[in-house]
């Protein structure tokens, strides 16, 4: 695990990293062929977060799945507001070197699909 994506396991604290998988796909250049899955078991909330990182041509496709919420969970409402801001900031940081400054007050309402 160490060295594959330096620093990403910091996200796990204080949660437990359950699974870390990396693999290569045949026929692809090694440097673009690493897929990784990071699964966080978020005790005591009872829910799980999965980051799925896949090469996509010269880009990276990051899929975040956060599931296992209790019925009517307030946590679901909070993370539904939070994750888009975090992932948007991450994308800008990696593409431009500077993160976005998004005020907490701007996170606002959530539309439920």
């Amino acid at each position: 695990m160490p060295g594959l994506v330096p620093g990403i396991h910091v996200l796990a604290s204080p949660w437990e990293v359950k699974t870390w998988m990396a693999g290569t796909k045949p026929g692809h250049d090694e440097s673009f062929s690493v897929s990784a899955i990071l699964l966080l078991d978020m005790q005591p909330f009872g829910c799980q977060v999965v980051f799925n990182i896949e090469p996509h041509g010269s880009l990276v496709k990051l899929t975040l799945t956060h599931e296992g919420f209790a019925e009517g969970s307030e946590l679901l409402d909070g993370v539904s507001k939070g994750w888009p801001a975090i992932l948007s900031g991450l994308k800008t940081l990696l593409e431009s070197g500077t993160a976005l400054a998004i005020p907490l007050s701007a996170l606002g309402k959530v539309h439920h699909a």
Binding site: H56, G57, L59, P84, S88, A101, P103, G108, H111, A113
Partner: protein, 170 residues
């Protein structure tokens, strides 16, 4: 058109270092859409009842819609009807709403795809595959000047489901 009975099926929010006016222009003009939306050209007549057309690079109509709500640069709701024979008859119309809000020095863009009836996950998989790529590329275009070059596989799961329903797909 009564939009009260439409319920959100897909919602994505993305924050963009830009202005509401620039995001609005990027969503409603071909000059921008061709760069971030797989070469597709958006032609929007920005008045209620106006035409909202998305053309493929060869000029044929891919999406034929109508402007339902228009409040520049804050909110745009359009019917988003993919021009495949039998699709609207079988699935009903789709609504797409873009909400643009200032968020500090950046912009919060929320995309909502709504339907007037329950739509299965197989059909919705098309939007779930496509929208993140479109919105990610739009964000990169506005922030860096360059859209992303995203090689997309055809939405096989959705196409198979449509075919099963007797809807002709390319």
């Amino acid at each position: 058109m009564n939009i009260d009975k439409f319920k959100p099926a897909i919602v994505y929010t993305i924050y963009i270092a830009s202005t509401p006016e620039k995001v609005w222009t990027a969503l409603t003009t071909a000059e921008f859409s061709k760069k971030y939306f797989s070469g597709l050209a958006v032609e929007a007549e920005l008045t209620i009842g106006g035409a909202f057309i998305v053309r493929t690079p060869d000029g044929s109509v891919h999406i034929a819609g109508e402007v339902i709500e228009c409040d520049p640069p804050r909110k745009l709701t359009i019917t988003w009807n993919v021009n495949w024979p039998g699709l609207v008859e079988k699935l009903g119309p789709a609504l797409v709403t873009y909400e643009i809000e200032p968020a500090g020095d950046v912009v919060k863009l929320t995309l909502i795809q709504s339907h007037d009836r329950p739509i299965g996950d197989d059909i919705l998989s098309g939007g779930r595959q496509g929208w993140p790529a479109i919105l990610s590329s739009l964000k990169s275009l506005l922030e860096t000047g360059d859209a992303l070059v995203i090689k997309m596989e055809p939405p096989q799961r959705m196409l198979a489901a449509l075919k099963k329903m007797g809807i002709a797909t390319p």
